[in-house]
Symmetry: C2
Subunit: 408 residues, 2 copies
């Protein structure tokens, strides 16, 4: 008789987004005349830029002609995209990353879920709290997280690094030594960033302890401050300890196109092999390459015209972020994020729980956000809004909050 992976059953049901959907539907049914504004899920709303659309059409035409048809892509990605990414995202910034250290994939979510596979079950992981749930859940499924404690809402074999207002939403070096450290800057969900100097401390710590940092740089395009690094490889020694995840979703609107890449430097070694070789083997065995047409779209991102167009989109969203940040501040809220990040993290007023604030925001302003408690126990009492809406909706949402839900 076959047996299931019982680790899966340790995952608490994730009701976050389905609960949100249920509550929004119920409100909508009861109030059909009310216009609901959604600033909850981190999905983009601007269409794909014209230069990228052109490249998609061209690639589609190639697939329709025998002489230019492309079958299986190279497992690790087309050379034209790997080299463009390594050059523009790394070498042009002074980071020493070679083309063949770039592994093209169908997105950072898959990679952030799959990367733990190349590590032994017996590794201790450290995560920020609150956190993007995939880092934790994928380790739970692999049996690396231990058991869930219903009281603390924590897994007993995971090191949680609380990110709270008191510490500027920055994780502190933990007391226990982790083997694998997940970091994400600019952060989802808090919108916090890290300076190069602070990030260097983590790199030094990892190299000292023999830990690996899995660095999620999905939101690096939103950085404008010069002391905030776009890549962990701006820090000395990062080639020896850090894997970096990169997405095309938030900088170029690829959430529905699916493209990302992971950087695994050849210098991270253990047990007579490199993580680079292990990740290459995983790709070769369990992955079959991102679609040619999508990789061509990715290459268009790196053209001069593509860069100009996607930067305009990022600016559009960042103006939304500014509007939300200023709007909430002027309404008396305690807020952070939103400067080098598309997420705004607010402290709920009057010690309300995250869900109480959700209900109030929905009922009073007909605005949907995400309860911070959905991202981990230290997210309780916080709330996330995103800058990915339209300008019109963002402005209207802030007007409603200022008029009806001032924290004063």
């Amino acid at each position: 008789m076959f047996k299931i992976n019982s680790e899966y059953t340790k995952l608490p049901e994730n009701y976050l987004f389905s609960n949100i959907a249920k509550k929004v539907n119920a409100f909508s049914m009861a109030n059909p005349d009310k216009k609901i504004i959604r600033l909850g899920i981190g999905d983009v709303t601007q269409p794909i830029a014209p230069k990228i659309i052109d490249s998609l059409h061209k690639a589609v035409d190639e697939m329709g002609e025998a002489s230019t048809f492309k079958g299986y892509a190279p497992d690790l990605g087309y050379e034209f995209l790997r080299s463009a990414a390594a050059q523009t995202d790394y070498r042009d910034r002074g980071c020493d990353i070679s083309d063949d250290e770039i592994f093209i994939s169908d997105g950072a979510k898959c990679d952030s879920g799959n990367i733990q596979e190349i590590f032994d079950r017996d590794n201790k992981i450290a995560i920020c709290d609150p956190v993007y749930p995939v880092y934790l859940d994928s380790n739970v499924m692999a049996g690396r997280a231990g058991n869930f404690n219903e009281k603390t809402c924590m897994f007993d074999n995971v090191i949680y690094m609380p990110c709270l207002m008191e510490n500027g939403f920055a994780p502190q070096i933990p007391d226990k030594t982790p083997d694998i450290i997940y970091l994400c800057f600019p952060n989802n969900p808090t919108g916090a960033t890290i300076t190069k100097k602070e990030l260097q401390k983590w790199v030094d710590y990892a190299n000292e302890k023999g830990s690996v940092i899995i660095y999620d740089a999905a939101y690096e395009a939103y950085i404008s401050n010069s002391d905030v690094p776009h890549s962990i490889y701006e820090c000395e020694g990062a080639r020896n300890c850090a894997i970096e995840l990169h997405s095309f979703s938030k900088n170029a609107g690829f959430t529905g196109l699916r493209l990302g890449y992971t950087v695994v430097p050849k210098d991270i070694k253990a047990g007579g092999t490199t993580l680079h070789a292990l990740w290459a083997r995983r790709h070769a065995t369990k992955y079959n390459g991102a679609p040619y047409i999508v990789q061509r779209a990715g290459a268009a991102v790196y053209t001069e015209e593509g860069q100009r167009q996607i930067k305009a989109q990022v600016s559009y969203y960042m103006e939304n972020a500014r509007i939300i940040l200023e709007g909430l501040k002027s309404a008396g809220y305690s807020v952070s994020g939103g400067v080098d990040a598309p997420y705004i993290w607010l402290k709920t007023p009057d010690k309300m729980t995250s869900w109480e604030f959700f209900d109030m925001l929905l009922n009073e302003c007909n605005v949907v956000g995400t309860p911070g408690s959905g991202f981990g126990p230290s997210g309780e009492g916080y709330f996330r809004l995103t800058a990915f809406g339209s300008r019109e909706n963002t402005l209207e949402a802030m007007d409603r909050i200022k008029n009806r839900l001032s924290a004063f």
Copy 2:
């Protein structure tokens, strides 16, 4: 100090396709005037059909307009594609599969590698020998296969089911009871098929023993004989024991577009849960949906025009298969497959090893195929040719073999 997944190091280096590439390159360098014909790798060569190209262009245009832009796809696939697949591939054939038992993915390779994750490490797997390497390798990486025996070229915790000329390349019910049984019909690499009556025996066996069958139907479009089932769900009781993998690669030329799906009926239960719920959880945690434009392309496959066009492509390849099969027979070879499958499996003459035959075929005829030993120990002494080349190349390859490498 972090530790790597040491199970990865148990995988023997897979030199099959890199060895082929090396030998072909060396020959090419030494003989620049010789035209090499490649009938080795199972990649298609015909361009994507016009109806599908049209749907891709339309979907690309949608992504370029704010009013029709699509962000994150549903994790499990768009309803329009799930329902088309369930209706056309199953319900129209009398198989009881509901839309929400279809999980859309970026291809059958990923799914066949990932599906083992929802099972406990402590399950015994059975595979055909020779076999598509992903089934075995993904289980090795998960620590389920035991250790590799250099002498037998087998893993010591895996049940191998030899498929040889003596048994018509059909696996026999094994002596030891497996928990998970991988079956693939029409088979890659042997091109063998199974009748509904024979497949029913496997379904009955699995239900009796509480085993799960992972049924790879990637090549079902090549079936023309009416007693060969297109789906395992044509067998009674399969909803209680079988998962089915489906690909758009070989029926519609999607090797470079990436689309597939896996069917997990809700009736397969263990440990208080269903495999359906576990696979849904895996998708939600580690996957982010196939690209919208590719799912639209998939939907075009199911239109009347799409069906007509892809059937013409399959017929084109099957005529190649017929040419290879007849050509090899008339040259005196002992061959199988190639009737309801795009693969032709030949016995090497004069007790040559698979690689000896490879070298001879390359040197004498400048034709590239795949040594059977690359698919498992029972593949030794066999050789695979594929029907996915162009007509012109296929005809020329057969002429060369008949003229220069007759087995008589």
